[in-house]
Each structure stands twice: as structure tokens, then as C-alpha cells.
């Protein structure tokens, strides 16, 4: 389970990979974050499996099964 929002690790520094790229590009070219994101995002998008419907469906169905199992567990009173 993920750590609680009030956990001590909450204040640890975390940098989103895409945000890091945007900030770097903005600094390099002395442009706004919005302008930098327009340059960076089209490249970043290529690393994401947006058109892989088989992969998408598998991920979604897996979660749907988990949710259905949870409902069944609640109805039968079983603990996970």
C-alpha cells in the first residue's frame, strides 16, 4: 500500500520526469514553461503506448477484475 499522505516521506523531493524536461528546456532556451512544453511533449508522447490497444485493454481489464473481486469479497464478508 502507498504511504499515507501524512507520512514522513511526504516531504521528500520528487521530480516528475516530464516536468524536469520542461524546466530544463525552458532554462536552456530562456522560454516560458508553456513554450518549453510545446517542444518537449511531442517527444515524450512517443515513449507512451497510446496506440497499443491490446496493452490498454489488458491493463483496464486487470483493474476491472480486481474491483469485481473486491465487491465479491465485501458481499461474502471475506477479508483480503
Amino acid at each position: 500500500m502507498a504511504g499515507s499522505m501524512s507520512g514522513s516521506n511526504y516531504e521528500e523531493k520528487f521530480e516528475f520526469p516530464l516536468w524536469k524536461l520542461i524546466k530544463q528546456r525552458a532554462e536552456e532556451k530562456d522560454i516560458s514553461y508553456v513554450a518549453a512544453s510545446e517542444e518537449v511533449v511531442p517527444e515524450y508522447v512517443k515513449t507512451i503506448r497510446y496506440r497499443d490497444t491490446e496493452f490498454e485493454d489488458a491493463v483496464i481489464q486487470k483493474r476491472a477484475r480486481e474491483m469485481a473481486e473486491l465487491v465479491e469479497r465485501e458481499q461474502t464478508g471475506k477479508k483480503s
Partner: protein, 571 residues
């Protein structure tokens, strides 16, 4: 006294569009295409104003994957019932027309150079959602879009069409003559200039209303959100001026119910993966997973609260790396500031949870607004409402459609309408009322009064309603109106805008409570502790409110039914 002596400026136009958002800009552009003189009034700056100011990450519902507009209407009715209980809380004819014109609207947006395609040049239909989800989004019916710059692009398109844009201009009230809307008065929020706008048609496109409740997120306002439920925008200006002019509002008893983020450490991470098909995992505070959608309904959340299971947290740890990247791209498309919020707070969606909002009203997003017919005509001649201003209509797809449709049809009305005749006495009265706060010293700040209104609604209306509480809420609002409204002060024209907003908020808050008082039943998320059962007499009935001869009128009337020509689709 002549109009020119009362006003600092008089603008004459065919069409006045109030609000430069996803509905107002298409309406203005389309009307201008027909050769009409169009004036668009925007209280902020059109390039980044309003709900879509920071962008939008997904758009519309289309009749595809074998689904017809009629089937989509049926899904919409199902979703309405899920939120509000059994009943008909909108106008199915509007929804039918929206679905039926989905691809026309898409083409019109592309003509305005709004990007609708993904990076590879093709449309990217959002993934299927798993079984058991809201059926209107269980199919590939909506588009993921890169709309970070939708507002500057729309503003550019509108300027290119020759629309006269009055920015930093707040509408005070509509001008009427013999039951017809003939324009509006307005103030420039930088110079204080008082403006009269004479128009043959007025289109209200100022979005929804929310500011009688605490906002969706308690995040610090330093982040300057321009977001759907951003407290900086949604003061219901269009609804309020329509009501004061005599137009009908509907469904003010029905608020949107948040199961959103109630967390000052981050913002809506959860919505984005839902849009890409994979729901988050909700846990109670002890770490036990909570079944979807138990926590989504008012009664479901209340049950968890009574069992001591709240707060409820959401987790995204189960998402694949690919999905976390999708969230990042969605941030860019809808709210780039999300990165900064998360970075400032040290929030890592791969490892941290966030708290869900306790289920309470936080806006009127679902069905309330200005009552219109199938062509978005309000109940006053010459007056239209589009986008989130319309009762039973909501979202950016519906906003764009209604804007294009009304913009496309106004030339007929304008050609038939005579020259607008403005009543100078009405202008004088509106000017006097509007500018009073500039002369008040040591009075009440607009935000002080707004917070007092919010307190009254949070305390006396909110989730669990009863006659006594609602009456007390009304009494409190009446006291605020009597004692503090006249003492509102504005140290400059910007604060004058805030003062005008608060007047609108107060008017609408009172309408809200009156509508809740009249609805003596419990249904869906409308919980009346003193009337715990459904009242069958309220099936498919809506509360309509208007001013008549200066007096408020509340009528319960039957909701519009789907017209036979739409219902017979496919026969």
C-alpha cells in the same frame, strides 16, 4: 438624461456575448461569420480566462462505436439518475442535439484552428473503461486532446473574425424593454468606465456557479488556478443577471457532489487515470480498500463516516509506468501548474496517497442554470444561454456545441429585431447600484462577505438539510444582505468587480436555499433529514425560479421530455 450623459461609453452591436470561454468564443466567431457585429465582454483576459484558462485534457462524447445519439441520451439519463436519484433533471432534447451534432462541432473547432488530433495526426479516442463504470464513458466516445493553449487559440480566432472584445469588463445587469433584452450595462475593472451596450441579442456564456460553497480544493490560492471549479471565476454572473432581468432558472436545489480531492497537498491526480480507463484505488484510513463506487454517493460516504472509516484516500501505486507518464501529459494539457504544486509539496503519485473530498456540495455543475428551449433561448426575448450557463448542460463539448449552434442562428433573430430601445432610467438605476462600493469607506471587503455567505451555505444547507436549518440559512443571508451588502467597499475598479460578483453570489445562494426548502423529499444526493422518503409527486418535476414584478416566483413544473422526432430515431 441622455444615455451618453449617463454612461462613459455607449457601444452599439448586433450581438452581445457575455463571457469569452469555450462557449462564448465559438458563439462570437460563428455570429461574426454571418456578418453580424459582435461584441464579446470578458471580465478577465480572454486568452487565459475562466474554467479552461489552463487548458483541457479531454473533450466530448460522440455517437460512435455503434452507439446512436438516442442511446447516448439514455446513458445520460442513467448517469443523471445515479447522481440525483430517479427523475429527469435536465432537457434530453438538448442532449440529443449535442450528441447528434458532435462531429459538426468537431469540424467547426478545427476550422478555428483548435487542435483535435493527437501527435501522430489521428484522433486519439480515450480507452475503454472497465465494466461497472459510468456507461457514458465506458466506450471510446471521447477524445484526449492537447488543449493547453485552447484559450489563446480561441481568443485569436475570435479576433480574426473581427469580434469587438471588451476585456477586463464586468457586466452589471441586463437591460430590458417590454420583456425583451436590449443590452447590458458594464464596468471596466481597470478604469471604472461605465459602459452601456445596446444589442439586438444577448448570449450568456459565463459558465456555472459555485462560490456559495467552499471550493473543490483547499489549495492555497497563490497557485492561481484557472480551473473548472476555480474560486476566482465561477460567481454565476450570467445566471444572476438573467434572473434579475426576469429570466427563469432551473434546478437550483440540485448541487454537484464532490468525491474529489480534499487535500491541500496535491490536486486531481485521480481524475486523469479514470479518463484513461484505469480507476484509482480508494482506501480507508486503516488501509482497507473500499469498493467502488461506495464512496462516490452521499449516502455511501456518510455510511463510511458513521463507521469510522474516513478519511478516504486514493492511491495510484497500481498504475503502470506508462499510465504515470499519461498523467504527466494530462497535466501539461489541463494544468501545468499541477507539477509545481506537487513539486512544492513533495508529492509523488507513485508512492503517496491523497485524501478524497468528503462528499458535500461544492458547485452546481450538473444540472442547475438558466432554463432554455432546444435552441438555447432563455425565457426572455432576445436572450440566449450557452455552455455551463444552461440548466442541464455541462462540459466543454456541450459548451462548444451550444456556442456554435447559437452563433449560427442569431442572424435570423437579429434581422427581425428592431433597433434596441434602452430605458435611460434603468441605466441610471443600474449605474447607481453598481458604483456605490467605490464611495464606501471602512466598509466590508467583498471576500469578507463572500466567506460569510459560504459559511451560511456550508453550515445550514450542505449535505444534510432540514427545514429549520434552511430557514436559519435564509435568515443569515437576509441579515448579510441587509447589513453588509450596502457596506460593501471597493478600493478600486478591480474590487468593484469582486463586489458585483458577491452580489450575484448572494442572490443565487438565496435562490438555492429557497429551492431546497421547496423540495420536501430525499432523493439521490438531495438529503432532507425531515423528509427522508422520495416524494413520487416530484418525479420528473423541476423547480423553476424567476422574478416577476420584483417578486420571486418558484414553480414546480414537469421536466421537458424527449421530442417524438428524436425519440423515434432508428425506426
Amino acid at each position: 438624461m441622455a444615455l451618453e450623459q449617463i454612461a462613459d461609453r455607449v457601444v452599439e452591436t448586433d450581438v452581445l456575448v457575455m463571457g469569452g470561454g469555450i462557449a462564448g468564443c465559438p458563439a462570437a466567431a460563428k455570429a461574426a461569420e454571418h456578418g453580424l457585429h459582435v461584441t464579446l465582454v470578458e471580465k478577465a483576459k480572454t486568452d487565459r480566462s475562466g474554467s479552461a484558462g489552463q487548458g483541457i485534457d479531454h473533450y466530448g462524447i460522440f455517437p460512435r462505436e455503434g452507439l446512436t445519439p438516442l442511446e447516448l441520451v439514455r446513458h445520460w439519463e442513467h448517469a443523471q439518475n445515479f447522481t440525483n436519484g430517479g427523475g429527469q433533471w435536465g432537457n434530453p432534447n438538448l442532449m440529443y442535439r449535442y450528441y447528434d451534432n458532435g462531429f459538426w462541432t468537431l469540424e467547426e473547432l478545427e476550422k478555428l484552428s483548435i487542435p483535435m488530433r493527437w501527435d501522430d495526426g489521428e484522433y486519439y479516442w480515450m480507452p475503454h473503461r472497465g465494466p461497472g463504470m459510468d456507461p457514458t464513458v465506458s466506450y471510446k466516445l471521447g477524445l484526449r486532446v492537447h488543449w493547453q493553449n485552447v484559450k489563446p487559440l480561441l481568443a485569436k480566432a475570435v479576433r480574426k473574425k473581427g469580434v469587438n472584445i471588451l476585456e477586463r469588463t464586468m457586466v452589471v445587469d441586463l437591460l430590458t424593454n417590454n420583456g425583451r433584452v436590449v443590452g447590458a450595462t458594464a464596468v471596466n475593472t481597470r478604469t471604472g468606465e461605465f459602459i452601456v451596450i445596446k444589442a439586438k441579442a444577448v448570449v450568456l456564456a459565463t459558465g456555472l456557479f459555485a462560490r456559495c460553497y467552499d471550493p473543490e480544493t483547499p489549495l492555497f490560492w497563490k497557485y492561481k488556478f484557472r480551473y473548472h471549479w476555480c474560486p476566482a471565476t465561477i460567481s454565476g454572473d450570467g445566471w444572476a443577471v438573467a434572473y434579475r432581468a426576469g429570466a427563469e432558472l432551473a434546478n437550483l436545489d440540485i448541487t454537484g457532489w464532490g468525491f474529489r480531492i480534499r487535500d491541500d497537498l496535491n490536486i486531481s491526480f485521480g481524475n486523469f487515470p479514470i479518463n484513461d480507463g484505469v480507476p484509482s484505488k480508494p482506501f480507508d484510513w486503516r488501509g482497507e480498500e473500499v469498493a467502488y463506487p461506495t464512496w462516490q454517493s452521499a449516502s455511501g460516504y456518510a455510511g463510511l463516516e458513521q463507521k469510522g472509516q474516513t478519511p478516504i484516500y486514493q492511491s495510484l501505486e497500481h498504475l503502470t509506468d506508462d499510465w504515470h507518464k499519461r498523467i504527466e501529459v494530462a497535466f501539461v494539457d489541463e494544468r501545468l501548474v499541477s507539477f509545481k504544486v506537487a513539486e512544492d509539496r513533495g508529492f509523488n503519485p507513485r508512492t503517496h496517497q491523497y485524501e478524497l473530498m468528503p462528499n458535500k456540495p461544492h458547485n452546481f455543475v450538473t444540472v442547475a442554470g438558466i432554463a432554455t428551449d432546444d435552441n438555447f433561448k432563455a425565457s426572455l426575448k432576445g436572450l440566449y444561454a450557452i455552455g455551463d450557463c444552461v440548466a442541464g448542460f455541462h462540459s466543454c463539448g456541450e459548451a462548444a456545441f451550444s456556442g456554435f449552434l447559437v452563433g449560427d442562428s442569431l442572424h435570423n433573430l437579429v434581422s427581425e429585431a428592431g433597433e434596441p430601445v434602452v430605458d435611460e432610467a434603468q441605466v441610471e438605476s443600474q449605474k447607481k447600484a453598481a458604483l456605490v462600493p467605490l464611495a464606501v469607506k471602512d466598509g466590508t471587503e467583498p471576500m469578507e462577505l463572500e466567506c460569510a455567505i459560504r459559511y451560511a451555505c456550508e453550515r445550514y444547507v450542505s449535505q444534510f438539510k432540514s427545514e429549520g436549518k434552511l430557514h436559519e440559512g435564509l435568515r443569515r443571508l437576509g441579515s448579510l444582505r441587509r447589513v453588509f451588502l450596502p457596506r460593501l467597499m471597493a478600493k478600486n475598479p478591480h474590487y468593484l468587480m469582486r463586489a458585483l460578483e458577491v452580489r450575484n453570489i448572494l442572490d443565487l445562494a438565496e435562490l438555492h436555499i429557497n429551492a431546497c426548502l421547496e423540495r420536501r423529499e430525499t432523493r439521490g444526493n438531495h438529503i432532507r433529514l425531515d423528509y427522508p422518503e422520495i416524494d413520487p409527486a416530484r418525479d420528473s418535476m423541476l423547480a423553476y425560479q424567476r422574478l416577476e414584478g420584483g417578486k420571486p416566483v418558484l414553480e414546480i413544473r414537469k421536466a421537458p421530455e424527449l421530442k417524438p422526432e428524436y425519440a423515434k430515431e432508428g425506426e
